[in-house]
Amino acid sequence: MRFGFRAIPDPGHEGIRPRPIVDVVVDGLDIAPFACLLDSGATAVRLGSHVAELCGIELSDAPTQSLAVGGALVTACMSEASLRVADAHQTYEWSAPVWFCEPWAPSFGLLGLSGFFDRFTVTIASYEEWFELAPVSA
């Protein structure tokens, strides 16, 4: 699956460098795929807690930890969730541990090492502003 980089405006600046962002359907909520940044610096998949709420994912008994995102302390609750990405030709769905965080400052979710980078061979062509995801065979 190949995707172009996507630019999201950066307030206070003329523009922002387009980045590898992909839309992810979380737990079958097809009507609202959430924009997520490929982030090899993140150790796991991290989304805002609003995503869990909208998808009906129960977090009351979920494992919880405190961590820092963007310099702010957040409370993160982990739940297994199905994730799906698609381009015009292919769709790939997998299940992964997702950390739902509160508060959540970034405008998008973060796709990190566990649950994303360990499920795909990821090729990033930054000069040409595209990236490719090839599912890793089990």
Binding site: A35, L37, S107
Partner: protein, 157 residues
């Protein structure tokens, strides 16, 4: 600077109406934009189907007039109009590509469909509710960054 008042006498479905540009935005202030199928007009930072706007202004049934008539009337009142999926040249309200089209929505949650903002609101819950209510499926949902932290999405430490 005060907004210039444009007043127009138009006959729609055999009835005469006096429309003012200043009344248009007021009339649609609390209205939720319906899904854009093709044509739209821009009111503030939101896009509406032209027929929805004329219905709200006149109380007419939307079967009583055409999209073309509604669009033309609103353009004469000074509102920008465009056509979904027709590219930036089709929009008369200025550039409509890339991050620039998102700048009016800073801090808001947006549902993007076919490269356009289908709906914007102050919470993801409202966006998802709107999508469900109108049977729409977004290509992407996110919050337009309001500051550098939101825009850069720094990785967890």
């Amino acid at each position: 600077m005060a907004e210039k008042v444009v007043e127009l006498q138009v006959r729609i479905a055999g009835k005469l109406f006096v429309l003012r540009n200043t009344n248009v935005t007021k009339a649609l202030l609390d209205a939720e934009p319906e899904p854009i199928t093709s044509h739209f007009v821009v009111l503030g930072t939101r896009r509406f189907p032209p027929k929805q706007v004329i219905c709200a202004l006149t109380g007419l049934d939307r079967a009583d007039f055409t999209t073309h008539q509604a669009r033309r009337t609103l353009m004469r009142l000074g509102f920008a109009a465009g056509r979904r999926g027709a590219g930036p040249s089709a929009a008369t309200g200025g550039p409509d590509t890339g991050p620039d089209r998102l700048r009016p929505f800073v801090g808001q949650w947006v549902a993007i469909k076919d490269q356009h903002v289908a709906y914007a609101a102050d919470s993801p819950h409202r966006v998802v509710a709107w999508l469900a209510e109108h049977g729409q499926k977004a290509d992407s949902v996110f919050r337009v960054p309001e500051d550098e932290v939101a825009a850069t999405g720094l990785a967890p430490l």
